[in-house]
Symmetry: C2
Subunit: 445 residues, 2 copies
Amino acid sequence: MNNILIIGAGRSSSALISYTLNKAKELGWFVTVADANPDLAVKKVGDHPNGRGTWLDVMKVNDRRELIERADVVVSLLPAHLHLEVAHDCIKLKKHLITASYVSKELYRLGDAARDRELIFMGEMGLDPGIDHMSAMQKINNIKAEGGELTAFRSYTGGLIAPESDNNPWHYKFTWNPRNVVLAGQGTAQYLENGKFKYIPYHRLFKEHRPVQIQGMGEYEAYANRDSLLYKDVYGLSNIPNILRGTLRHKGFCDAWNALLDIGLTNASYPIMDSEKITYHEFMEAFTSNQAGTSVKEKIAILLGERPNSPVMKKLEWLGLFRKKRINLPNATPALILEHLLLEKWALKEEDKDMIIMQHEFEYKLNKEKKLLTSTLVLKGRDSLDTAMARLVGLPLGIFVRLVMQGKITSTGVNIPVMEEVYEPVLEELKEYDVEFVEKEEVIG
Amino acid sequence: MNNILIIGAGRSSSALISYTLNKAKELGWFVTVADANPDLAVKKVGDHPNGRGTWLDVMKVNDRRELIERADVVVSLLPAHLHLEVAHDCIKLKKHLITASYVSKELYRLGDAARDRELIFMGEMGLDPGIDHMSAMQKINNIKAEGGELTAFRSYTGGLIAPESDNNPWHYKFTWNPRNVVLAGQGTAQYLENGKFKYIPYHRLFKEHRPVQIQGMGEYEAYANRDSLLYKDVYGLSNIPNILRGTLRHKGFCDAWNALLDIGLTNASYPIMDSEKITYHEFMEAFTSNQAGTSVKEKIAILLGERPNSPVMKKLEWLGLFRKKRINLPNATPALILEHLLLEKWALKEEDKDMIIMQHEFEYKLNKEKKLLTSTLVLKGRDSLDTAMARLVGLPLGIFVRLVMQGKITSTGVNIPVMEEVYEPVLEELKEYDVEFVEKEEVIG
């Protein structure tokens, strides 16, 4: 095996491409990077002798198959809904496939076909999902091997702005997909507490945030993810009485985001009439009804149950929601108008550094003691291109490519990285890139 | 023409069937009532010489067509999604069709075909939609004919319990489809105020109720319907600056319903785990998270921002939401569990009387005066079978059947009852059945 195909040269590809090119020289690989924008692919490969950038319209079946045919391992960084086409080709042409996306039901259905052909299709091999699975599984299996009985697993991840680049009252900038941030949490969050199922509907999700102490960083806040129960069985925690996955934000963020949600600004289901003509001030006015108050700002404060100069109201005002400036977006939903505004206000500056925090908390009983193991990863980016996010998505992908290329993976079929032969070498090698969890163990009862 | 086919002999059919049978004797008609439950159809027709009840499984195409073939006018009381099959048969077999349901886009598409065959397909010919259209159009056209310029149209309808049968703290019982009551308002309410579009998202809809003075009845409260803008053009009010349609409830209802919504009990999108095993008390507990408070009731009060003995909390308690009684419903969504509980608590007793209130408010300028015309209908049922709701849905259908049978309708195609040749005779004849709007006109500026 010596040919790697990476499909997609966008934002999340840099760390993966440079990792594989570095290894390519040493291990005699050739790396092809294909993108609908060939300039982007060519630029990312540079003049590296072991790589080339090329054009690919992934919907052109013959072009796609020709590239896949020549590869041994394919990494798809395409939008999640496009993986399936590539996966079918990989079955047909007998190629391994790696992605950082959630594994869909449709992809899982290819498991037998992949196994029959002795292929590994590895999904959720990035940061979240990805490093979260691997780092949690390592601790869970260690605790079990010691004879410990897990009683609680809580896991929090946040894609944040580093303190040195944090200069707005929201303490937040877009370091990843803005649309996902605007629509985050829609549905109902479900988790387990003291053996009982718990539900938080979307309209209360951000109001019901909880404080989380991050080792070495201080207090943050978290809102519950929708999928806390999803990995319970996969992680081997079928009978655990407490399980919660959450998203981390800076203190004060959730209350202010709750205000945007409560007004109705995160709704993507209907267009605002005349949205190309009206101002942000009129947009806000459209959500007020019979509140007292003379100004739109006062009415919104009353609607939210906030004092006019509360920290929440100051954050709304800072966004420019009460300005008489035209929105200038035709046929836009409230969520699209909000996204458009935030893209400007929460833009990462060139020199800005992002910061990823991931913290797992494991409570377990061992030898009649109750213990708490806290395992924390904090990583900052270098600037707005070389982000911690891109590194933490790209490096696990790259390392796993290496493991497959070197024949070190025996698993076959459709998988996520919860097996020792994957998480041990990946987590070990990540340390070389300053990606290391800090641990603290306490006796709590 | 002398044959009428009524498909459906359920709850809403009684007034229609007795009206048409009464007229049948006088006018020489024959009325066939068909239902999947033939006993129901036979019972509703009784031993009337001009009618018969029969069995029909509406999905059996040949049986359905055979019945339709023999009719001149078909009234479909089927669930809304089944009208379309019947409508296609009516096109093919050249029969008029009448329903009380909202006209779907698919049904509107049959307009040209119906017109070509000189057929009338009349939808929205019940109470709401139905009487609301007719009574509003009559006043709007009168005001315009006088030279008045309409500046506001507000219309409120409520299916309520009559004061003499009102004996619970919610002042509400189910007089119509319980599921529609539980899911009411989901989406975003849109209306016009002072020429500006207004939006109320579902999670604030019941909190933002407004008081409405009902002539002769006192103060009620209303929440905005989703569809206020839908009939603006159809009613000839394209440039009106204020338009609002709302649903009427007894004072105090909306705040308490808002509490159910806020907890998450009106959500029909996911099942509650182990819903067959848990109690209502555990069901409530599942929606609490990190609220202070020792009991589940206290936590819920805090979640809602209510004092523990507030009128809202008393209404929740009266429903039995904090009782340790098993729910006993497998795989149920929160909304289904709530519906199941309310079906017991809000059941109409045999002797209970329902009450329909419909009130239109028209503001208009005429001769430099600003006027307000209030037009109000209040009708009570006789008992739990002969309800005001059934009469107000069935009588307009019946009267319109008569008009069509007697050749008095010239309109063709797919319609709703906004034309004078329909609303004048229907509203006039409704008075014989004590269905009469009371009017008040005031100079307000």
